[in-house]
């Protein structure tokens, strides 16, 4: 029968397709495995270097497991007492900048989402985002002179908190705009008709819906500010020091103390990693950009 033959052929084809997909899946897994090795190796090498002696880090034949464990490195990095306060300074700057970015970015994002025409339209919003695209080094020197003329100078928390807005505010504005757009305007209108004043309606109705998005924006801003080196290196250094500019100071004469650098880096990694673990539930929901669809 022709029909049976057809079905048999279709079955074979289906089996072949399934086979092919399985092969693709394995290839993909192998690729992911390599990718994982590639990205994790530097972290691994950083971690073991942090436990090596200075001498071992200078061997021409690198070791992939410490010959001798040196946990003292983690005490050594704080021999200079200001090193700990550098972590505190970084924390103050990153947190201050994040809060300010969120506040201003939410307001601007809300305006772009709800009153696009009055706020200057899509072009204006995109122009803001494009501010993130130029090479930061292009404005390094002008910014230095600009901040040098402010009452608080360059060497202060406030200078970096404000300066990092250049990078974080466009990002926060754009992302918050997308999140606010996802919340139907009708929800706010319904709240107005239910008798709620605009600000309270915003806090009660809109804010909870964009909160996951807001938390992921906060994470992105915080990590950028925490890790920033280029501007910090030029701007601060005596009254205020960020941890990023402390790392290159671990040298001994002409010798780089890799073990101390790596130990300090490992310590500096702890806050973002902890933040990420605590907030990852929100991160995933926020970054998938589908806050209230359902």
């Amino acid at each position: 029968m022709a029909a049976t033959a057809d079905i048999a052929q279709a079955n074979t084809q289906a089996a072949q397709t399934a086979e092919r997909w399985r092969a693709v899946r394995y290839l993909f897994l192998i690729f992911l495995g390599f990718w994982l090795l590639f990205t994790l190796f530097p972290l691994y090498f950083m971690a073991i270097t942090a436990f090596k002696s200075a001498a071992e880090t200078n061997l021409t034949q690198p070791t992939f497991w410490p010959q001798e464990w040196f946990p003292e490195n983690f005490v050594g990095v704080f021999a200079e007492p200001t090193n700990f306060s550098a972590l505190v300074d970084s924390f103050i700057i990153a947190t201050g900048n994040t809060l300010l970015s969120l506040l201003l970015g939410s307001l601007a994002g809300y305006a772009f989402a709800r009153f696009p025409r009055q706020a200057g339209g899509e072009n204006m919003a995109f122009w803001m985002l494009s501010n993130r695209m130029f090479p930061p080094v292009a404005i390094l020197v002008p910014m230095f002179f600009l901040f040098d003329n402010t009452p608080w100078g360059t060497d202060s928390h406030i200078s970096l908190i404000i300066l990092y807005l250049v990078f974080n505010l466009p990002l926060a504005t754009w992302l918050m705009m997308v999140f606010f757009r996802d919340v139907p305007h009708e929800l706010e209108e319904a709240a107005y008709l239910d008798g709620w004043k605009p600000l309270r309606a915003f806090v009660k109705v809109t804010l909870p819906l964009v909160l996951p998005g807001m938390i992921s924006v906060a994470m992105l801003c915080w990590i950028f500010a925490w890790n920033e080196y280029l501007f910090a290196n030029l701007f601060v250094g005596s009254d205020v020091r960020t941890y990023t500019i402390v790392i290159p100071t671990f040298t001994h004469g002409s010798q780089t103390l890799w073990n101390l650098q790596m130990a300090f880096s490992l310590i500096a990694m702890i806050p973002p990693v902890v933040l990420f673990i605590v907030l990852r539930r929100y991160m995933v929901r926020g970054l998938s950009l589908g806050v209230v669809k359902g």
């Binding site: 139907p184 009708e186 929800l187 209108e189 319904a190 709240a191 107005y192 008709l193 239910d194 008798g195 709620w196 004043k197 309270r200 109705v205 909870p208 819906l209 209230v292 359902g294």
Partner: protein, 371 residues
């Protein structure tokens, strides 16, 4: 509860050459406790009108009054209006009970009383079992009832329903029509129902305000809109299938005036009242309207003065409880509603009969009803 008056209301979006006149010189009074439908095709200005009534849109000129009190420039919060949205607009992160009590929370009603009233409203709308759930888990019909409940839980001066049934299937729609009619009868609130569906409007409303092209075309009850439409638009929009229109010129025949349809052999007889009215205008061009329901295949029913049309069948649509014939005569095309057992086939030439008093004559320029 309130009587709503719109006096000479205009809404213009934008400025200069890009200005859009969305609502033009609207005068409308909705009496206390009345159920009025605002009916019109999309883009006719009905949504702008209702948004101005509730205060979500500013009024360009004119006045809106509730019970004589000017509310034109009041914020929505100060107007005590309730609205059920087309998209339901339920707060997705609140439970149904929290959704229902949200308007009471801002009024400072104590939690116990809030809960009592939520249960009362839920009872009325048959949503008690879902009170603890969140909106995304509900069916469309349930979400719709929650949105009605949120509007009903306080005592609004005006209750507005914006296209509330456009996302419901036919069965649910029928149920909702019944529920709404019952709610209105029990609560006796002033209700404004906005829709583009004439069936909903005709089924629910005491009076219907028909809008088109930013203007109010006609306000009236079912019979008035159906039998005496103010203009060709209303005649076209109300009734299913829509009214047949023909462009025609007056013709004297055996001492009486008839209407000769352009590019066709069709000729309409007019009632004596219509003849007098047409003569009085002295016009050369008219639009003749006749509803498909007013055409019949039965020559013996009614009086001997009935008019007759001869035309060929182009399509015979069998719709179960009735059939729609599409007929052709010359360039003119029209439809007739006939019993379902009609066996006439394509290209058959048949006679159709009508009552001359049912023939509507419109001015060819303004499209206003003459008779």
């Amino acid at each position: 509860m309130a009587r709503v008056t719109l006096a000479d209301v205009n809404k213009i979006y934008g400025t200069g050459t890009r200005a859009v006149h969305a609502v033009q010189d609207l005068d409308l009074t909705i009496n206390d406790g009345e159920f009025v439908a605002l009916l019109g095709p999309s883009g006719c200005g009905k949504t702008s009108t209702l948004r101005m009534i509730v205060g979500l849109e500013s009024v360009t000129s004119g006045r809106i009054r509730f019970d004589g009190q000017d509310v034109t420039h009041l914020e929505p919060q100060q107007r005590n209006v309730a609205m059920a949205f087309e998209t339901y607009a339920l707060y997705p992160n609140f439970t149904i009970e929290e959704n229902l009590t949200f308007p009471l929370e801002v009024q400072g009603v104590p939690p116990k009383e809030r809960r009592r009233r939520a249960h009362q409203v839920a009872e009325m709308l048959r949503i008690t079992p879902v009170l603890k759930e969140k909106p995304p888990g509900l069916s469309g019909g349930q979400q719709q009832r929650v949105s009605l409940g949120r509007a009903l839980i306080r005592e609004p001066a005006v209750f507005i329903l914006d296209e509330v049934m456009s996302h419901l299937d036919a069965h649910l729609k029928f149920q909702m029509l019944f529920d709404l009619k019952r709610l209105h009868r029990d609560l006796k609130r002033t209700m404004i129902y906005v829709t583009h569906d004439q069936v909903e409007a005709l089924a629910l409303a005491d009076r219907i305000a028909v809008m088109s092209n930013a203007k109010l075309q006609q306000v009236g009850g079912r019979a008035a809109l159906y039998n005496r439409p103010a203009n060709a638009f209303v005649a076209d929009f109300i009734g299913e299938p829509p009214t047949n229109f023909f462009t025609a010129r007056p013709l004297q025949e055996n001492g009486s005036l008839t209407m000769q349809v352009d590019n066709s052999t069709l000729r309409f007889q007019l009632s004596s009242e219509a003849q007098a009215a047409v003569n009085a205008t002295g016009g050369e061009r008219f639009i003749v309207g006749l509803r498909p329901q007013n055409l019949t295949l039965d020559p013996n029913r009614g009086d001997p003065n009935r008019g007759r049309l001869k035309a060929a069948i182009a399509i015979n649509e069998y719709l179960g409880e009735r059939s729609i014939l599409t007929l052709e005569s010359g360039k003119a095309r029209f439809r007739a509603l006939v019993p379902p057992e009609t066996a006439a086939g394509q290209r058959d030439i048949i006679d159709l009969f009508y009552d001359p008093t049912r023939v509507m004559i419109f001015d060819a320029e303004t499209e206003d009803l003459i008779v």
